[in-house]
């Protein structure tokens, strides 16, 4: 007679041998890749001290002071600053709209694996569970793999210069990231409450509402807010390819060697990011 497992529900899908070896193998490969990259990426701190490297940096920094703080310039920059926030908010909203459904589909414990599917037939699991799961994962990977810069470049071609291209770029690239992280958060909730609700006759949606969402919500909100912070910075970069906001102004000032304006713009960006940080910290504390 075979060995009797003392199988608690959560550990039912035990790691196979190859999975247990994986961390060691991974660490070795990772270390090797760091060493290899050190050479390939031409990391050489001495080059910072050679020739006029430092002189150029000094010129850039000296040109920044004093920053341009006159009323006219600040007044002109109010609009791009607000635009940057608007791009980040709309971009994040689109990212959430894409990330939630794709993230749900990309969650293996919801679609095909684990305790909620114990009684589903094998073909049912593959057709209705694994196929949409794999498709959603693939889409999310594509969204994430293409940098938001490249997305912005494409969307500028599609919808023209301006903030909308930036919104779409952030929406798609960050939708990929949010979806991936949402699925990981959802996969890591405790399966026990889910099993209990299922065993008491709750529907799949009922299990999600009373078991999954309450467990996952704080992390989902925290990560979404973090991505919003990143989106503000990203919208500045996207301005460089003409997607509006502060970035476009930074690019213009740099091109005209107006480093005093650049400093002011960077300071505005800093204030924006810092305020979003404070705000999201408050919200996180409130939902925890």
């Amino acid at each position: 007679m075979a060995r009797i497992p003392s199988a608690p529900p959560a550990d039912r899908f035990r790691a196979s041998g190859s999975r247990r070896r994986f961390p060691y193998l991974f660490t070795a490969v990772f270390a090797a890749s760091v060493l290899f990259s050190l050479r390939a990426a031409q990391v050489d701190p001495r080059r910072l001290l050679e020739g006029d490297a430092l002189g150029n940096v000094a010129k850039f920094v000296r040109g920044m002071f004093p920053p341009r703080l006159d009323g006219e310039f600040l007044g002109l920059m109010a609009r791009p600053a607000i635009e940057t926030v608007q791009i980040s908010v709309m971009g994040t909203a689109i990212a959430v709209a894409l990330g939630v459904p794709l993230g749900l589909l990309a969650t293996s414990s919801l679609t095909w694996r684990g305790v909620l599917h114990e009684r589903t037939s094998r073909t049912g699991r593959w057709l209705l569970g694994f196929a949409p799961y794999a498709a959603a994962r693939a889409v999310l990977s594509v969204f994430r793999a293409i940098p938001e810069y490249v997305w912005a470049f494409m969307f500028v071609r599609a919808v023209g210069l301006g903030p909308f291209a930036g919104v779409l770029a952030i929406g798609v690239a960050y939708g990929g990231m949010l979806g991936k992280v949402y699925s990981e958060i959802l996969e890591n909730v405790s399966p026990r409450p889910l099993e209990t609700l299922r065993a008491a006759g709750a529907s799949r949606l009922g299990v999600a509402l009373y078991g999954l969402v309450p467990q996952a919500l704080p992390n989902v909100i925290a990560y979404t807010l973090y991505r919003w912070e990143c989106a503000i910075r990203a919208s500045a970069i996207l301005g460089f390819v003409g997607a509006g906001g502060l970035g476009q102004q930074i690019e213009l000032s740099m091109r005209m060697f107006q480093f005093d304006e650049v400093l002011t713009l960077l300071a505005i960006l800093f204030v924006l990011v810092a305020s979003v940080d404070v705000l999201s910290g408050r919200i996180r504390g409130w939902v925890a």
Binding site: P9, R192, T196, A199, A202, L205, L209, Y210
Partner: protein, 274 residues
């Protein structure tokens, strides 16, 4: 209530948890399951509450073979089976009232379930259930602020709200301290007796099983080893049931020496008197 014939369960990794297990439980019966850890008791309970599908054999619940049930059919049967687990299978971040009202989920529509999260529906019912388990004041507390024993009472209150025909309790007291264990076992026994529910309980401690249940099923290696009234479960049978399992053998030694870990709360055990 339950009719099991030739139940066998093999997990995906090839390990056999249950082997040709047959069992019959009538309505209103109280049955305790004992046996060494790894005997397949938890697997058996997860088959009984229709979470797991047996690899072979038939499971008949109230005259109905559950193997061919559709998703909706399964849900209907599941609402009639209430389960209490070893670990607190509650959502700690939700208030007690929502965890208790989750017992309604088998009947509620999704819209009702969602609305109740915003504005709890059957507050009176949840309050009554909490009163029955002796902590009505905790209705609005956050569940993760309660102690282990209190959470186990919340789990019982949820089953009361669900109002099933059978209560399955899978080691309901192994995570709480011994003095609470007795009160939770008696609570479950009395509540299911009052409402004429069938009660099946998995127990780690033999003395609780023998002291509070009229029918004892010994499980080992995925099979039923004996199915007797407690006065016929003697030391030899128990020694055989737990042979090779050090911790549990020690528990038997303590029983034999009269050191009942549960103290006076338990009735004297037949066959163990000196």
């Amino acid at each position: 209530m339950y009719e099991l014939a030739g139940i066998r369960k093999v997990f995906a990794d090839g390990s056999v948890a249950l082997e040709d297990l047959s069992l019959r439980v009538g309505p209103g019966e109280h049955v305790a399951f004992i046996g060494p850890s790894g005997a397949g008791k938890t697997t058996l309970f997860r088959i009984l509450n229709l979470t797991l599908r047996p690899t072979a054999g038939t499971l008949i619940f109230e005259g109905q073979d559950v193997a061919g049930l559709s998703d909706a059919g399964l849900r209907r049967v599941r609402t009639r089976i209430g389960t209490i687990y070893q670990q607190q299978n509650l959502v700690g971040r939700l208030r007690v009232v929502h965890n208790v009202l989750a017992g309604h989920l088998g009947r509620w529509s999704t819209a009702t379930a969602l609305a109740s999260l915003v504005r709890p529906r059957d507050v009176a019912g949840a309050g009554r259930a909490l009163e029955q388990v002796g902590m009505p004041e905790k209705l609005w507390a956050r569940t993760d602020e309660l102690s282990g024993g209190q959470q186990q009472r919340v789990a019982i209150a949820r089953v009361l709200v669900q109002d099933p025909d059978v209560i399955l309790a899978d080691e309901p007291v192994s995570a709480v301290d011994p003095s609470l264990a007795v009160s939770i076992v008696t609570l479950l026994r009395d509540l299911s007796h009052e409402s004429r529910k069938t009660l099946l309980m998995n127990l780690h401690s033999v003395d609780l099983a023998l002291g509070y249940f009229p029918r004892i099923v010994g499980v080992r290696d995925g099979r039923v080893r004996f199915d007797l009234s407690p006065d016929r479960v003697g030391p030899e049978l128990l020694a055989e049931l737990y042979a090779g399992h050090r911790d549990e053998e020690r528990q038997l030694e303590r029983l034999r020496d009269g050191q009942n870990p549960l103290g006076a709360a338990c009735r004297p055990l037949p066959g163990f008197r000196k």
